[in-house]
Symmetry: C2
Subunit: 549 residues, 2 copies
Amino acid sequence: MVGVKHLRPFDDKVFDAGFVYISAYDIWVDPNHAAALAARVPTNVRSKLDDEQRRSLILGRTGRDWPLHETVSVIDRRDECTPDRWIPRHPHLIRLSGRHPFNCETPLQDLVQKGFITPTSLHFVRNHGAVPNISWDTHMLSVTGLVDKPTTFTMADLVTKFDQVTVSATLVCVGNRRKEQNLVKKTKGFSWGASAVGTGKWTGVRLRDVLQKCYVHSYQEGARHVHLNGVQREVPLGKMGCYGTSIPLCSANNAANDVLTPDHGYPVRVIIPGGIGARMIKWLSEVVVSSTESDNWYHVNDNKVLPAGVDEERAAREGFWSNPDFAINELSIQSIITSPTHGELIPLAASTSTTYTVRGYAYSGGGRKVITVEVSLDGGNTWLISRIMRGEEPSEYGKHWCWVFWEVQVPLLSLFAAEELRCRAVDSSNNAQPENLLWNVTGMMSNSHFRVKLQLKADRADQIALHCEHPTKNGAEPGGWMERESLSLQGIKAVSTVSVQFDLTMLTPLHSAAPNKGIPIRRLAAHARPFSGQEAEAEGLMLGPATPP
Amino acid sequence: MVGVKHLRPFDDKVFDAGFVYISAYDIWVDPNHAAALAARVPTNVRSKLDDEQRRSLILGRTGRDWPLHETVSVIDRRDECTPDRWIPRHPHLIRLSGRHPFNCETPLQDLVQKGFITPTSLHFVRNHGAVPNISWDTHMLSVTGLVDKPTTFTMADLVTKFDQVTVSATLVCVGNRRKEQNLVKKTKGFSWGASAVGTGKWTGVRLRDVLQKCYVHSYQEGARHVHLNGVQREVPLGKMGCYGTSIPLCSANNAANDVLTPDHGYPVRVIIPGGIGARMIKWLSEVVVSSTESDNWYHVNDNKVLPAGVDEERAAREGFWSNPDFAINELSIQSIITSPTHGELIPLAASTSTTYTVRGYAYSGGGRKVITVEVSLDGGNTWLISRIMRGEEPSEYGKHWCWVFWEVQVPLLSLFAAEELRCRAVDSSNNAQPENLLWNVTGMMSNSHFRVKLQLKADRADQIALHCEHPTKNGAEPGGWMERESLSLQGIKAVSTVSVQFDLTMLTPLHSAAPNKGIPIRRLAAHARPFSGQEAEAEGLMLGPATPP
C-alpha cells in the first residue's frame, strides 16, 4: 500500500497544533449564502461545553445578554465605490487603514462584554486587498508539490470526504496593539488598537488528512514545508498577486470548509490554533508541499519580528528580512484591560458600591495556558491576582487554544488614590509580558504591560469622578495617554485637561451612597479638535493599489 | 490485537518532547562500572553532527582542547563521613547547600569553555538525599496503574527489548540564578549561581514504547497522568521517602537505561528535553499511569512558580501549593554572560586588541529556538546583536533541545566607557527575558537580564584594567554586585573598592600595544574577609535529615 509509507511520519508528528477549521456554527452568514451552505456542513461535532455552560462560566449572564450573532444585511456607505461593495458589514466595526482594503477591529469595550465567542459580525478583519467574490460551487483547492497524487478538491469534497472536527480558538492579528508602537516611532504597519483579537468556534477538516489523501512525502524524503496560497489577483504584491505563506510540515494538521463570511475567508481558510493570524490563509486555493519555505512576498517581508530597535534601513541593509529565524508563528503572552474602558468616568460619590471590578482578556500561544493575570495600582510594586474565567477545557493534549477573561475587585478608595492601573499575565511556560514596550520595525507582538492612566475629573453633574485613559484609542480618532504624551513631545498643543491635586483623606464618609456635593470641580475643557491622524491613511505594507483591475 | 487499541491514542499525541534517554556516550563512568556496563549499551544511534563537526562549529578548536571526559577516581574529603562516600567527584565542582545532600554547580567560566557537551564530571547535580547505591543487575523498573499488563523490567530488558534513541539536550535546574532572588529576599530554596545548567548526549528508550508494551489505557479511558518515582528511602519527605512527580500522559514519551554516574541517576533516569530538571526523575523505580496528578510531597510542594511577590505565609494561607496551574514544566528563555567572568580584569594598555569578545550561553524550553541574544553597554538603551552558534540541528519536528553559545565583539573603548554590560535573549515564540528580577517564593525560573557591572581598577602591575563583576558569584564565597549592594543595604561594611573617575579621552593612543604606565592607580583594597554566608547552610526544601537510617 502506497499510503502506509506516508502514514508513519505523520502519525509521529501529529499533535493538535495546526488543525485547520472552518466554522459551521458561530460565524455570521449572509442570508443569501446561509440557506445554500448550512445544509452542507455537519454539525454533529460539538465543543465540550455547551452554550449554557459557557455563558454561566464566563459572564454569569443569561443567554439573552450574550448574542452570538449580530445580523447585518445592509451595505455600509463607506464600502460603496470599492470592490467590496457587495459585503454587508457591521456599522460598529472600527475601520483602520483608510477606506480600502478593509481592515477593522472590534470596539475594545465590546470584546469581553459580547462573550467568550466573539460575534462574527464584530470579529476583527485583516485584508490585504479586495475580498474575492468566490462561489462555493466553483472554488477549488489544489494540492501539489511533494505528493504522489496531486489532487484538486471541490468544497463538496472537503465536507464529505474527510472527518469533521471542531475547535474553539482565539485569532489574533500579530499587529494587535501596534498603535502604541507607532506612537514611539512609526513602524511599517498601521495602527491597531488592543482589539485585533476574537474567538471563534471553527469546524473543518484536518490539513494532515488532506495531505495524506494525496500521499504526501515524508520528512526524510525531503518534504519540509507546506505552502498555503490564497487566490490570485487579490493583493498588489506576491507571485500573481496571491497572498501566501508556508508552515513547517510538522505543523501541517489541516485545511477546511464552510459557512465563513467573505471577510473571514469564504469558502475555505486555514485555522492554526495558538498561531498568528497571518499564517491562516483565507480563500485558500493552493497547498504545495515543498522542501523549502515559501518565497511569497508576504511570507518573506512581513510577519517577522526583528530585534528591537532595528529600523527599516538597517533591516534592508543587513538582510534581516531573508532570515527565516525572525518569522513568528506562535502568539506570545498578552493581557489587556477592557474595564475600565477608554474614557470611562467612574463616579465616586454617587456610587453605592465600595469596589470596582477591573476586567479584561488574556491569551498566549502554542497551546500554553494563561496562569495568572495580575493588576497593579502602584506602578508595578504590588500586584493583585485576578480571578480567571476559562470558556473551554484544554484539549486532550493539554493545549489551550482560547483566550481567557479575568476580573479583580479593587476597593474604590484604592482606585481613586492610584495614578495608574496596569495588568500583566504569565503563561504556563512562565513567559511574562515585558514591563516596557519593545519597539520593533513591524510593530508586531506588542505585549508590554497594559497601562490605564487615572485622573480625577468632574463628570457632567460636576461630581468627582475618575477618568480612565487607555494608552491609545481604537481607530483614527484622537485619544489615549500615549498619543497625548506623543503630541506633547512633538510640540503640538496637547489636549487640555484639569489636573486636580486631591487629598483622599478628606473624603469621609467615603462609601456613603449620598452624593458628595462638597467638592466641586471645574468642568473639563471640551474635546480637542478632531485629529485627522496619519494612522487613518497608513496602509501598512500595502505598497500599491489594492483594487483589482 | 489488544495492542492496537492502545496504539492509536499515542500515535496521535506523540511528538518529540518527553523522550527519555540515558547517555551511552558522554557521561563519565566510574571505571569499576564502565567495563560492566559499556558492553550492554548499543551505540549505533548517533547525533546528526559528529564530534569533529560540533567542535569546529562551536569553538573553532581542535579536539584536544575540548575534553568530553574529565576522569575522576578519588573520593573527595568532603564526602567522607557522608552516605555518598563511595562516589568520586570532580574537585572543581562548586558545592552548595552544605556538605550533604550533594548539590553542585559548574564554575561559570567553565560552562562555555568546556564545549557544547558539558563534561559529565563537571555537570551540575541536584540531589535531595543520599545517592542510592544501585546495582545494574538487580534494579527493577515497575510499570503499573492504568495499564492492562503491569510489568517489571530489568535494566537488561530496557536495553534489549526497545528501540534505542539518542538526543542532545540541555538540562537546567529550575533554581538556576536563585542566588539573585535570595539577595532580594530569601526564597524557599538555596542559592544557585548561573551555572545550574549543562548539556548532555543521552541515549535511551522512549517511555511511550515502555507504556505501550504494558498496554497503557487511552486518554478516553481515563489515563491522564504518568507518575514517575525514584527509589524509596532516598529523601526525608514524600511517600516512603521517595522523590516523585507526574507528567501529563501526552508528554510521556520515555524511560531509559545506561551508564550514568550515580549522581546523575544510575542506572536509569528520565530525560524530558526542553523541560525542567525536576521532572526528570533519577534512579527511576516506578512508573504509574493514573487519572490524577502525583501527590508526592515534592510534586505538590516544590517546582512551582507562584505569582511574583506571594510569600510563603500567603502561599500557605491561600492554598497556592495545591493549585496545579503553578507547576512549571517547560524552561523559559534565558541568557547568561560567561565572558567576562566574575572578577575578570580586562587590561587596557597592555592589550594589542581593539575589541573584546563577550560570550555566553542561552536556552529556552519546549523546543523553542533561541532567536536573538543581544548585549547592551548603556543600560538597555541600545543593543548589539550577537552571533549565535548552534551545536545541534533541530529535530525533524522543528524542536530545539539544546543551549546555544553566542558571542559579540565589543570595541574596547566602548567597554571601558560603559558601567554595565547586560544581555537578553528572545525565543521563537517571541518570549523575552524580563528586564527586572521578579521575585517568587521558590526563587525559580529567575531569568531577568543578566547584568555585569564594570569598574575601572588597577591590575597587579598598577595598570588600568576593567574589573568585571557578576550579580553573584558561584557558591558560598562572597562576591557579586547584588551581594555587595545587599550587604550595603544591611548596614554591613561593603567590600572596599577604589572607585576611579576616569576621562577616556585622555587615553591616546588608546590601542597602543605599549604598556601605558602614565596613569598609576592605587592598588585595590585586599579582598574582604571571608564571608561564611547563609547560602552555605541553606538547605532549601530539605526539612529533615537527609541521611538514610
